[in-house]
């Protein structure tokens, strides 16, 4: 590639030449609303371009910002999944930090071992005891909510200081769009196809953040890459707590959700705007909605953009709306006030972009 190539302007991270520059000041971009997210992100990329992720896959957005927050002193454990097969295909890699893939169902336990090793090696003087090394699991929904569930629970229960980031594309997308424990009701997947008798997936999304919080770990959050400032703020908080942390990130999947690639971020915005996905955090048991939605859009706005819901009948869409209404009511009850407002039918599904 010529030096004037497409990525010439993206500084590739080289150890010993690390400069922190102002790249994003979230609070300036979102004045008045997100002061808590007011910190700088470095220009340098630790998640490097040239990966094999699908066009408009938002895994890249999550991984890139995650590493901008965590920095070079980070070890990434990447269980089997889309991110793993698309970013480290020998002899290439997209990670500027140490990275390991062991198997599918053991992100939590591999991370436990690495965290324990770092602790022991610090005590024996092999690693500088003053150096902070982030141990980060970057796992999909299958590797977290299904096959990796036990390892995850064990890691939480034992209190390893590990940041667990779950990118949730709501199915086994890497193996060809099979349903997982986080596939939502009504979605058509290859193992829960929309048939004449059964309208796609008939189960509801496993509440991973609530399950993580039930372990009593110090920090749990949900995030959405359409709201980068909110997401990076949560990465930062997760990094700073003493103990395990869990961040459940919704991730749009072009082939799995079947939307036009240009809508990758739009569909994620709609997830939050419809109340399908609520961005919140649970810090030491304290529940807080970080992205209030004063007026909600109807869930059909989120569903109709995606091929996986195209088969749904109006009554099934209404059923999904009712489930969301019930969840929103519960969230408002927990918070003690209306943080997520009612559905406003006058809101257009796609807001005009400036």
């Amino acid at each position: 590639m010529s030096s004037g190539g497409r990525f010439a302007k993206i500084p590739v991270y080289i150890r010993g030449n690390y400069l922190v520059k102002t790249a994003i000041k979230a609070a300036e971009e979102y004045q008045g609303q997100y002061e808590y997210a007011n910190f700088e992100l470095p220009d340098e990329e630790l998640f490097l371009p040239g990966h094999g992720l699908c066009a408009s896959c938002t895994i890249g957005v999550i991984a890139r910002h995650m590493l901008k927050v965590f920095g070079p002193d980070t070890v990434v454990i990447n269980p089997t999944g889309c991110a793993e097969v698309s970013t480290v295909v020998y002899p290439r890699t997209n990670w500027g930090v140490p990275w390991i893939h062991v198997a599918f169902g053991n992100g939590g336990s591999v991370a436990s071992g690495i965290e324990a090793a770092i602790k022991a090696l610090k005590r024996r003087g092999v690693i500088d005891p003053g150096r902070r090394i982030n141990v980060v699991v970057f796992a999909g929904d299958g590797g977290t909510a299904d096959i990796g569930f036990q390892a995850l629970s064990g890691m939480f229960e034992r209190g390893h200081k590990v940041i667990y980031v779950m990118y949730d594309n709501e199915g086994y997308m890497n193996t060809g769009i099979q349903r997982s424990g986080t596939t939502p009701f009504g979605a058509s997947a290859t193992t829960s196809p929309a048939g004449k008798k059964v309208p796609g997936n008939v189960t509801h999304k496993k509440p991973m953040a609530a399950i993580a919080a039930a372990h009593g770990i110090p920090y749990v959050a949900t995030a959405n890459p359409a709201y980068v400032h909110d997401m990076v703020y949560k990465f930062k908080k997760a990094m700073e707590v003493d103990g395990p942390s869990f961040i459940h990130v919704l991730q749009s999947c072009t082939p799995g959700w079947r939307f036009e690639p240009k809508y990758a971020i739009r569909v994620l915005e709609l997830a939050t705007e419809t109340g399908y996905w609520v961005n919140y955090e649970i810090e030491r048991g304290e529940f807080r909605v970080t992205l209030p939605v004063p007026r909600r859009k109807h869930v059909k706005c989120f569903l109709q953009l995606q091929g996986r819901f195209r088969h749904l009948k109006p009554e099934e869409v209404e059923y999904i709306q009712k489930v969301i209404d019930r969840d929103v009511e519960e969230i408002n009850r927990v918070v003690g006030r209306e943080v997520i407002g009612p559905v406003d039918p006058s809101l257009p599904c796609l807001t005009e972009r400036k």
Binding site: V75, I100, V110, S112, I114, L121
Partner: protein, 402 residues
């Protein structure tokens, strides 16, 4: 136990004689090797090992991170993670526990991680049976681990120390398992010699940290996707390393002998030089096999015994040499190779090695008790031609092939 030691050798290291069960001997050896991370999940009959190690850690006798994981799958995963991070590691399992961690076993090989695992062997369910036979460790043969089978508490102790030294050698970088009889070795109190000064063990087997690991100053990616264009070459390095490890195993064993006065070789032999019949077995059964050989000798039969110790890498050339002159090789296997031409796994491998038929029998399956008379009777059947080669018989099975 002392019968195993070679004739008087000069010992560099002062030792004291104590009595321990096989499991506690392993735990003590592990403690002396100072692992930095131990991941443990209980399963009979290995549990006393991880209990003892937990005691050492909680009493401050061993400075290690002890991860009481929620399953064996996680035990192997955690030691893979820890080893990849540069730590000396240990875990131990048996039977179903091995089955549960199975998918991670070849991964440790592909990543070239010098994990040492103990195994108090136990048969596989069903029916559920917690007792010792070698079904579990035999199911590891294709994976690329170094496999030792020890006969006694002393040998299990010594072999753990040797295994660390071999696994972490830069010519090897492979995981190693040290197997020994569940119950008959793991739970039996035996005398053994251990170094008075534990530091000697660390001097003999210092942590090399020479393997590729996760280092933030020198980022590496472990466990990349290996496409058909690359997988074979990468995996082949582990194949070659295992083959080459034999030299290191022998070298380490020899040096261990010089330091501690005991060495074992790749296999042990007893009166095989001129033997017409050699009884081959492994684990604690060797004592009975030797007794049978001695009894047959008294009766004028030139009999010997051979005990397999390092079965991976398979010491084919050496075994061939040792058994070349024996007219009849009678292999008593302690695990079932279901549906194979010979149902004894080691009998199959020896037949392939020797390029001629061997006599095969199964014994101690599910820890069915056996005594030297039963082996003697079986050996007589082989000698008299009542048992044919190329066929698997059973010793001690009701309604079996006897």
């Amino acid at each position: 136990m002392t019968a195993q030691a070679l004739a008087p050798v000069e010992k560099k290291v002062a030792q004291r004689r104590i009595a321990l069960t096989g499991n506690h001997a392993v735990a003590l050896a592990v403690k002396m090797c100072r692992p930095e991370v131990i991941a443990a999940y209980p399963i009979t009959p290995q549990t006393p090992v991880v209990e003892k190690l937990a005691e050492y850690v909680n009493n401050g006798e061993l400075d290690a991170e002890y991860i009481p994981v929620e399953s064996e799958h996680s035990a192997m995963s955690a030691v893979i993670g820890a080893s990849a991070a540069g730590a000396r590691t240990f875990t131990e399992t048996s039977s179903q526990g091995l089955g549960h961690m199975y998918e991670n076993l070849p991964i440790a090989v592909g990543m070239r991680l010098p994990i040492v695992m103990g195994m108090a062997v136990r048969t596989y369910s069903a029916p559920i049976n917690v007792w010792g036979d070698y079904s579990d460790v035999m199911s590891m043969r294709e994976l690329g681990w170094i496999i030792y089978i020890a006969q006694s508490a002393q040998e299990a102790f010594d072999t753990v120390i040797q295994a660390y030294r071999v696994a972490e050698d830069s010519r090897v970088h492979l995981p190693a398992v040290v197997a020994y009889d569940g119950f008959w070795t793991s739970h039996v109190l035996q005398p053994l010699d251990v170094p008075e000064d534990e530091e000697e063990v660390m001097r003999f087997a210092p942590i090399t940290r020479s393997w590729v690991r996760l280092d933030v100053d020198n980022p590496a990616q472990l466990g990349a996707v290996g496409t058909p264009e690359w997988y074979w070459e990468v995996r082949w390095q582990a194949v070659e390393a295992l083959r080459e490890s034999q030299k290191v195993i022998e070298e380490v064993d020899e040096e261990f002998g010089k330091w501690f006065g005991r060495r074992y070789g790749l296999f042990r032999t007893h009166r095989t030089e001129d033997a017409e019949l050699v009884v081959v077995t492994y684990g604690s059964l060797y004592g009975l096999a030797k007794k049978v050989a001695d009894r047959l000798r008294q009766e004028g039969v030139r009999a010997g015994a051979l005990r397999l110790r390092v079965i991976r890498p398979w010491p084919g050339d050496q075994l061939k040499k040792a058994l070349e002159a024996a007219e009849k090789v009678f292999v008593i296997d302690r695990a079932i190779n279901h549906g194979a031409y010979l149902q004894g796994p080691m009998a199959m491998e020896l037949a392939a090695t020797l390029q001629r038929p061997v006599y095969s029998a199964l014994a101690t399956i599910g820890m069915r008790a056996i005594d030297s008379d039963m082996i003697y009777e079986a050996a007589l059947k082989v000698l008299k031609g009542l048992w044919a080669p190329n066929q698997t018989y059973t010793i001690g099975l009701r309604g079996g092939y006897e």
